[in-house]
């Protein structure tokens, strides 16, 4: 098969300017983190080898956190990233399910997370006589305020701060690797296109311009479909 046909099926109208894109869905559908698509699609949906599919199946079949732990994680994740005018909450982006998976995938997270919420529950009990999830929103925030700022944390809360930082990292990663998070961030790549330099407006904002001697060396995207011709010295002459 003419392999250039392959690009045609992905890139219609390949020259700079109006790009018609196909084969890359602009309206992407999101699958929750725990969906097991490993058996239904070839290569598990994204180029998995059989060993990887088997490993993921086994991980999916296990539960690490119990219900109470999941509840704690859900409350904390939504405190870390609540819904606001820009985007939904960690819960909306199914971050707790992601954390539930990642601790099975990376066992090194297990003790810090499980021990961490035990620390939080102990703290809640000591202060309010309740587990963290049962505390009022106000009581919860009081604890969070004590452990959310690692640079100014009081010594008696330092372990709690360590845990909270890990939860914050995992929540952020879990959130920004979903469609909700990517839209919030404004990432607009991962799609066939033609790179033709930094947009003028952006250059101006940074007080920059392309030097002419750079531009003459770089590709003129109007020629991107043209077969190259060199002279015998290697100069590109067509």
């Amino acid at each position: 098969m003419d392999r250039r046909d392959t690009i045609k099926s992905i890139l219609l109208g390949s020259v700079a300017g109006g790009l018609v894109l196909q084969g890359c869905k602009t309206e992407v559908e999101e699958k929750p983190a725990t969906t097991d698509n490993s058996t239904s699609e070839p290569g598990g949906g994204y180029g998995r080898v059989p060993e990887e599919i088997a490993r993921d199946k086994a991980l999916m079949a296990q539960e690490f956190f119990n219900e109470h732990e999941m509840a704690t994680i859900t409350v904390l994740a939504d405190i870390i990233l609540p819904a606001d005018a820009n985007s939904g909450s960690a819960g909306d982006a199914e971050v707790p399910a992601f954390i539930g998976f990642i601790v099975k995938d990376m066992p090194s997270h297990q003790v810090p997370i499980r021990g961490g919420w035990m620390w939080v529950d102990h703290e809640a009990n000591a202060r309010d006589g309740l587990t963290f999830v049962k505390c009022s929103a106000q009581q919860q925030i009081a604890i969070v305020d004590d452990i959310a700022y690692p640079d100014t944390v009081k010594p008696q809360h330092s372990q709690g701060a360590k845990f909270f930082s890990l939860m914050r990292d995992l929540t952020m990663t879990g959130f920004y690797t979903t469609k909700i998070g990517i839209d919030d961030l404004g990432f607009i790549g991962n799609t066939p296109n033609v790179w033709d330099g930094v947009p003028e407006e952006e250059l101006q904002k940074h007080g920059l311009a392309y030097d002419q001697d750079w531009l003459v060396r770089c590709i003129n995207q109007e020629q991107r479909a043209k077969d190259p011709v060199w002279d015998e010295l290697g100069n590109l002459i067509g």
């Binding site: 992905i10 990663t173 991962n190 790179w195 920059l208 991107r224 190259p228």
Partner: protein, 575 residues
């Protein structure tokens, strides 16, 4: 266990389908030679949906692209890693060498960085200039015609610059710099450090009808479904298979090269991963291309009464002079890059600009150079994105009053405003090849196929450590020119100035080095064993030194050159 013999006799048996093996298979098959291509890993073709990771979204991976099963992340094309289950290697005398292997059709070229640099005239004759190491027995002039041919067959973008030790080639036009690269260009200029367009084997224009043109997704390491980047499988092996002159054996782990009474090679024996049985392939010629260390291992394991020290090892040099590139990195946060305007700046799967070594004429306290690779930009989030992002508030005192840590909408604001504000650079330099750095067979350990494994012995010398110090100072200077806040502490003498452990840059070469003298080298100028004229090595093994240039373009050129010699000798019936 009975060893089964494949009935067919081939002209040539090639071990390994990476850069070196793919090129040999392509050249020989197109010359009408019957080839058995034996590869330890599985088949791979990024044009087929079942292998594709390109253009997938992070949430399609339950671990969001983390590297739990694949070293460089879930979407990376490479199968393998630093450790492979059931295939150990060991280290000697408390030294370190980390060995990266990728077992699959195309080997490590499925996810390599596509940085495609020619060695320069000086790089083949460094000893003439600094008295260290050894000269190659061939010169730039010998290899140049093959570099030219590789450029035109495979495609590489770049610009003609007329820099003495950075030879120009037949380049496709390079892409324009991205925003962070413009910052780099300007900052480097302030210190008189040159920056030129990168040289990567990515098609910015079409090179033949079988391959598409780059559509700028920044994901070459995932394998390109339109074959717009170079990987051995897509560009060499699959077309070679179309000639019908190649039988491809996948999941076949070569144990040794078999020999006859005269000590000549008769083919190879391999273990099939499918049934764990041992098989033999007969051929007139054997070409080793299993990667420098794997080929050395197979040859060392190919002992016989004629070759008691391993095949091609009468010199005792086989496995010695192993060397990897040096490497160190540094990143900085650039306040001017906060609150960036959004646009799609994916670009190609690698840097658009770089700094070639610029101080050949200067007297320094180390003798070989390095080049600088640049990274940054608004990349697609994957596992790790957002970790510690609010720490950046340490450097920012603005109206927001935001501090490090915290929670709530403020964190989303941090993610948005700091997105794409970090620029980093990595140095990749030349290590002087030394006999004391080597791999050998471990007398006590076998892998799960029963094959004795490699044991490594490797130390950096003062030369490499001082080079790393120079890298750190340079990176700091460039970042400071940019107004950046440098991230992380500056590594000092106690950590070799951040010099990466040997092996970590994944440019293993030198184990079957070429030379005119059979007492001090393993192969001759045609990559042919001095001891056995029907065995060739076309991976990085024959390198005498590796310059600060990544090795693959030279592997490809030398493999083509050796293939021409083999075709010629087969025609003349000399082998």
């Amino acid at each position: 266990m009975q060893i089964k013999e494949q009935p067919k006799e081939y002209d040539v048996c090639i071990v390994g389908s990476g850069a070196g093996g793919g090129m040999a298979a392509y050249q020989l098959a197109n010359a009408g030679i019957k080839v058995a291509l034996v590869e330890a890993g599985p088949f791979y073709d990024p044009a087929k949906p079942e292998y594709q990771t390109q253009l997938k979204w992070p949430w399609e991976s339950p671990r969001r692209g983390a590297g739990s099963t694949r070293e460089f992340g879930d979407f990376d094309a490479a199968l393998g890693g630093w450790e492979i289950e059931g295939e150990p290697y060991t280290r000697k005398d408390g030294t370190q060498f980390d060995w990266f292997r990728s077992h699959m059709l195309g080997g490590r070229t499925n996810h390599w960085g596509r940085i495609s640099l020619r060695f320069g005239p000086l790089d083949f004759k460094r000893k003439d200039h600094d008295g260290q190491g050894d000269n190659w027995p061939i010169s730039y002039q010998d290899v140049a015609p093959y570099y030219d041919k590789v450029d035109q067959l495979i495609g590489v973008f770049g610009s003609r610059e007329q820099i003495p030790n950075e030879p120009d080639g037949f380049f496709l036009p390079p892409p324009k710099p991205r925003l962070h690269e413009l910052y780099y260009i300007n900052a480097a200029k302030k210190s008189n450090i040159p920056v030129i367009p990168a040289r990567l084997s990515i098609l910015t224009r079409p090179i033949n009808k079988k391959r598409g043109v780059c559509f700028y997704c920044r994901q070459c390491s995932r394998g390109c479904r339109v074959y717009a980047d170079f990987s051995s499988s897509s560009v060499l092996v699959l077309p070679a298979l179309e000639t019908n002159n190649v039988d491809l054996y996948v999941n076949s782990v070569v144990r040794e090269v078999t020999t006859n009474q005269e000590g000549k090679a008769t083919g190879v024996s391999y273990i099939s991963k499918e049934d764990m049985q041992e098989y033999k392939i007969k051929s007139k010629i054997v070409i080793m291309a299993a990667s420098a260390c794997s080929s050395a291992r197979i040859l060392l394991n190919s002992k016989s009464s004629q070759h008691p020290n391993g095949l091609g090892n009468s010199s005792d040099v086989l496995g010695k002079y192993l060397h990897d590139s040096t490497g160190a990195s540094k990143a900085g946060f650039v306040p001017a890059l906060m609150n960036r305007g959004r646009h799609n700046e994916d670009g190609v799967g690698g840097m658009h600009v770089y700094t070639p070594w610029w101080l050949n004429d200067k007297k320094l306290d180390f003798s070989r150079g390095y080049h600088i690779e640049v990274w940054g930009g608004m990349g697609m989030p994957s596992y790790g994105f957002g970790f510690g992002v609010s720490d950046m508030n340490r450097f920012v005192k603005d109206a927001s009053g935001y501090t490090t840590g915290g929670y709530g909408s403020k964190l989303k604001e941090d993610a948005r405003r700091f997105y794409g504000s970090v620029i980093g650079m990595s140095g990749r330099g030349e290590c002087i090849a030394r006999k004391e750095n080597y791999c050998e067979i471990d007398p006590n350990v076998v892998d799960k196929y029963g094959i004795p494994v490699l044991r490594f012995h490797y130390n950096w010398s003062d030369q490499e450590v001082k080079q790393a110090r120079h890298m750190q100072d340079t990176f700091e200077e460039i970042l400071t020119n940019m107004g950046a806040e440098i991230l992380g502490n500056k590594p000092g003498a106690d950590s070799d100035y951040g010099l990466a452990a040997p092996g970590r840059i994944i440019h293993e070469v030198g184990t079957t080095r070429m030379g005119d003298n059979p007492k001090t080298s393993v192969t001759n100028i045609n990559c042919q064993l001095h001891d056995v004229d029907n065995v060739f090595v076309v991976d990085g093994g024959p390198f005498v030194s590796q310059a600060d240039k990544n090795p693959t373009w030279t592997i490809l050129a030398l493999s083509w050159r050796a293939s021409d010699h083999i075709i010629d000798q087969l025609k003349k019936m000399n082998i």
